[in-house]
């Protein structure tokens, strides 16, 4: 408490000092270069030097401005519109020295000033490693928006650092900031709607963009979450039919008559095994859902995100039919309650097989599932604050959430369950592992001794296996880590790799209580993630915002706006739609759909981008080895250097045995004629580039990049509009700027 009160005293002091140098108020502040929703750091009057306050005796003269190395300094920030409870944890700050080294600053506090409640004192701690660098540029970021950058002096005043080109003085405002309401609605927010479709689905659908404008995000989310019924009146979570469950292949005379599995020449149809018993059908189904499943876009996206948290991989599951039973669980609970998701995942035969719970018995316990449900699916390894930051000891160390003993105890809870094979199992079939019904328990194989769970909760000896399971899953579900842990993972999947603690905290609060007193409501969590101010906005200017598009999103995001269809020569049975055989394009990018290398997914969620302090999970599979395969995919879909009509994934029904990964009955192509038509009326290509900027970069293209593309487009003969369109499309889709969803 004493620390807190002394901090408050210091803040009052700072506020006082700050106020004393405000002097006479300046005219209305103007910062033309900044977006309307960006924070503004107040500068000294008539200068781009920060107005600062320090806990120092010097009140005048140059030394007053100089922040000591490793010291603290307070800035004044305005143009904020804070939510209830939004404070220091919603802000980040950094400083860049004359050598272009950018250092994060620790934000200590944010407090409205007494004199002008619309101006906030933001106090930061400088790391000693920054050194005596002299003048440097400081910035704050808030909700994905960067402020103006203003000069401060560290160690000494002076140096050669240049202001940002569009920098102007931002003196202390005399009145609260006002926003034109006209800017908040309608067409000017196209950028945000495009970003939303990339975050909530698999890319831009021009029809949906117009519709979102009318019905709002909120209504669309409700629509997507609504239960849909198929022709039989059953609930469906998929636009296209799920691939069928095929029981384990029997030896001849079975459906595929060969005996050696994949590509057996003895089969009348050599693709029989691949088409029925491999992961191939579920991968194609996934891409068709992503490209065309408009009434399930959000569910599909959330389910895909969940599949990368609650990982079950095709390496062990092997067959589409088994995997789809697991995906149905993720689909069904995407907007349901986390507690039931946890139950159904735990009892899923696919998971039971994948993490060995199906083989864990009292006599021979296997701790694999117990460890991973705690580490990866619910609690995580470190105790967390409710904003997702790790709790620390006074020495600054993280605190483990559990020990080997905890794992041992949960291991006992999960013993005795296995594939359902008794008469009570609706979908049992002789000689076939039951991958449909939830696992069942053999009480004799269950360890019914006492167990100690989180928070010292005791599972008394002698309970039934089911009672043990319910109690243990309740115990996990109510661990305070679950809200922030799961919320942050979903934010990272959908929106940004490095959410502020404030953002994580707002979403975790929804997880903890959806507003109606219910914990674990995933629909409320998804809504909170997508509608949060840190997710929304036309353009995000925080340099650290966003996430790398994983290969699946890279591929679908560039196809969706351009009417992906079957190849023109496809048979009528294709119905004009792609067969979804796109995994052959993302596999070389190290993302084999539903076939990750391990339970740790395609990439680690805490992967640090080399040379930075930022998490960039998807960078775990973006490397020199995969980087050039992205432009090569773009080239394949719409090769600028080829004749009209060429491009896409070709129809390939005669692939030789052993190489039939290219088998594609319908093929996939995109149609750039809409872009091509823009070219004829537009000799310098600017409408073409504008359209691509809007549809792929939601209007964030920089003038420099735009100019590079413009020069290349105009080099192409205007008599060849297709090549112009494809050249511009290639350059946008291959750009590092597009690889990062911001």
């Amino acid at each position: 408490m004493s620390v807190l009160s002394s901090a408050r005293r210091r803040l009052r002091l700072l506020t006082f000092i700050g106020a004393s140098v405000f002097l006479a108020s300046q005219a209305l502040f103007v910062q033309a270069a900044l977006p309307d929703d960006a924070p503004v750091i107040v500068s000294e009057s008539g200068s781009t030097r920060a107005l600062v306050a320090m806990n120092t005796r010097a009140r005048t003269g140059p030394s007053f401005r100089v922040v000591p190395v490793g010291g603290r300094v307070t800035f004044y920030v305005t143009n904020l519109d804070l939510l209830k409870g939004e404070g220091a944890s919603a802000f980040r700050a950094d400083v860049q020295d004359v050598n272009s080294n950018r250092y994060p600053l620790e934000v200590l506090s944010l407090q409205a000033t007494a004199e002008r409640p619309w101006v906030y004192a933001l106090t930061v701690q400088l790391h000693g490693a920054i050194g005596d660098v002299g003048d440097a540029l400081v910035r704050v970021t808030w909700r994905g928006m960067s402020s103006n950058r203003v000069r401060i002096s560290i160690g000494h005043e002076g140096g050669k650092i240049q202001d940002d080109p569009d920098s102007t003085p931002t003196p202390m405002p005399t009145a609260p900031p006002t926003h034109s309401q006209a800017e908040l609605v309608g067409l000017p927010w196209t950028g945000d709607r495009v970003r939303f479709m990339m975050q909530a689905g698999f890319g831009v659908n021009p029809v949906l963009e117009a519709r979102l404008r009318r019905i709002s995000y909120s209504t669309w989310i409700e629509e997507q979450a609504e239960e849909k019924r198929d022709v039989n009146g059953d609930i469906r979570y998929s636009t296209f039919a799920y691939p069928p469950f095929k029981p384990t292949r029997t030896l001849p005379p079975g459906e595929c008559n060969g005996t050696t599995g994949m590509n057996d020449p003895a089969d009348p149809d050599p693709l029989c095994f691949r088409n029925l018993y491999s992961m191939f059908p579920v991968q194609n189904w996934f891409y068709r859902e992503a490209l065309y499943g408009e009434d399930q876009q959000l569910r599909r996206r959330v389910s895909w995100a969940l599949s990368q948290i609650f990982v079950v991989g095709g390496r062990e599951t092997e067959q589409s039919g088994r995997m789809i039973e697991y995906i149905k669980i993720l689909d069904g609970h995407a907007f349901g309650n986390f507690r039931f998701l946890l139950r159904d995942v735990t009892l899923s035969p696919a998971m039971g097989n994948y993490l060995d719970m199906a083989r864990s018995t009292r006599q021979n316990p296997n701790e694999n599932y117990a460890r991973e449900i705690l580490q990866l699916f619910s609690v995580g390894v470190d105790l967390l604050n409710q904003d997702g930051t790790p709790q620390l000891t006074p020495e600054g160390n993280r605190i483990p959430s559990y020990s080997q003993s905890t794992v041992d105890n949960f291991t006992k809870v999960f013993t005795g369950w296995t594939f359902c094979s008794g008469p009570e199992c609706t979908n049992r079939a002789e000689g076939v592992l039951n991958y449909i019904d939830p696992m069942a328990v053999s009480p004799a194989n269950h360890d019914n001794t006492e167990k100690v769970l989180f928070n010292g909760e005791i599972v008394p000896a002698g309970q039934t296996p089911d009672q043990d399971l319910r109690q243990a899953l309740d115990n996990i579900f109510h661990h305070p880590n679950v809200g922030p842990f799961v919320s942050k993972l979903l934010i990272q999947q959908l929106v940004t790799s490095n959410p502020t603690p404030a953002y994580v905290g707002r979403v975790a609060a929804k997880f903890n209580n959806n507003g109606a007193g219910i914990r674990g409501d995933l629909k409320a969590v998804v809504r909170a993630i997508l509608l949060d101010p840190e997710a929304r906005g036309n353009v995000k200017t925080d340099p650290d915002y966003g996430h790398l598009r994983e290969p699946v999103l890279f591929a679908t995001n560039i196809l969706k706006p351009y009417n992906p269809t079957a190849q023109a020569a496809a048979p009528a049975s294709c119905g004009g739609l792609s067969d979804g055989i796109l995994n052959i394009a993302t596999l070389p990018l190290d993302q084999d759909v539903y076939y990750p290398p391990s339970v740790f997914n395609y990439y680690p969620m805490d992967y640090i981008i080399p040379g930075t302090n930022l998490a960039g999970p998807e960078f775990g599979i973006f490397s020199t080895g995969t980087a050039l395969k992205r432009p090569n995919f773009v080239n394949q879909m719409a090769p600028p250097n080829s004749a009209a009509g060429v491009g896409g994934i070709p129809i390939n029904i005669t692939a030789p045995i052993g190489t039939n990964i290219n088998y594609a009955p319908c093929g996939t192509r995109i149609d750039l004629s809409r872009l091509q038509n823009l070219v004829s009326a537009d000799p310098n290509g600017s409408t073409l580039i504008d359209t691509l900027d809007r549809e792929l970069l939601h209007g964030s293209m920089s003038p420099a990049m735009r100019n590079d593309i413009s020069v290349a487009v105009q080099t192409v003969s205007a008599a060849n509009p297709l090549k112009r369109a494809r050249t511009a499309f290639y350059l946008v889709a291959t750009s590092p700027q597009f690889q990062v969803q911001r």
Binding site: N368, G396, F600, P610, G616, T624, Y730, P736
Partner: protein
Amino acid sequence: MIMKNDRREFIKSSCKALSMVAAATQLRHFGAVSVLAQKAAEVTPEVEYKALVCIFLSGGNDSNNIVVPNYDEGYNQYAAARAPQGLAIPRANLLPITPPSMGGQVYGLHPALPDLRNLFNQGKLAVTCNVGPLVRPITRAEYQAGAPRPYQLFSHSDQVEQFRTAISTFKSPTGWGGRLADRTVTLNQGAAISMITSIAGANVFNIGLNSQPLIVTAAPTPLNQVLTLTGFGTTGDEQARRTALDAIRTRDLDKTMVQAASVLTQQAVNVSQQLSQNPVLTVTFPNTTLGNQLAQVAKLMKFRTQLNMSRQIFFVQLGGFDTHTSQLAGQTNLWTQVNNALKAFYDETVAQGIASQVTTFTMSDFNRTFNPSGSGSGVGTDHAWGGHHFVMGGAVVGGDFYGRPTSNGTFFPTLVTSGPDDADTRGRFIPSTAVEQYAGTLSKWFGLPDTDVPIAFPNAANFPAMDLGFMMPA
């Protein structure tokens, strides 16, 4: 969190890494590579070629079944713990070896390792015993009393990182391969590509403060096709598109992730120009996951003179070692693959005349519980701690075991559950040899100066013997 006074430079450089080192600078470095290469080639004195090849056995290899006591008392202890559930390898099937440092006792290698046994007997292969992450040496009593231990023991992802970073006290953003490259970069002047190459994707082992790996795909992709940009013609508008493609990569670098993507792409473009040939190997490599990765390593080595490489670090990986179940068959398949691939690779280095300049070594998440889980054909093992590792090459003082003494005074733990070397009750053997010592010995041979040891291995002061002696003097 590694704050100790004699590690100032490490801390300083760590802080710098944490400060998003200037983007543009990095990009310029990559862009200048080929020019530098030409210049340096003229002035650099001859430095003998050396390479380290890390083979990561992903999932946690059960080394309890790879190196087994084959003398009466030792085998009986082993069989007592593993035979009842059917996990013990019959004594007659073990491939006997007699490491001099083990007091004349006979040990046995897993039956799938005939070629590795031959290399052991030829003095080209050594075993380092009971290696694992440690904060400092620790006894069973100290462990059970709560003494400092690596974070999140027995978790895959954390233990993998601790082996790859050789830091067990906090999640390090750099790996020991990367830091070794940082500190030996002066030995590699004029190199046309990154000192570190991973054939198994990006991971922290390969990342230093200033070092980033080149990532390439495995054979059978020809070396000159691992990184190519397709679809460009030669007409003026095609050249303009290529110019724009390259120019766009230099824009918007103030956005951190855009810059990171640009740097990696630029690096790939540069290297694609360097890897213009596909060398032919003398030895036929097995067409397996590991065989194809090592074939690509061997091709890059064969290309070393043209690429002007004096030092190289390679990372390859084989998965499937997380044998919670069905271990006997699974491990036999995996180690057959390892045996055959390592044999081919060693023979190829002999053919290239660099057998004594290439050192290959294994790492893995952890060893597995001595006490099995399950029984019968489904028998497996759970996550544990200290395990045994192989080091192979002409510069290895092979044919022997190395490490630091366990509670019984030898390099091998006492194979008894709840015994003096067990962390708990299931035979999770407490490592006697730290990852730092294992990696430090390899690093010293590679050329890491003694003065840089505390920088490359910030926790080295806790482990007096940073050279375990399994490498010939550099």
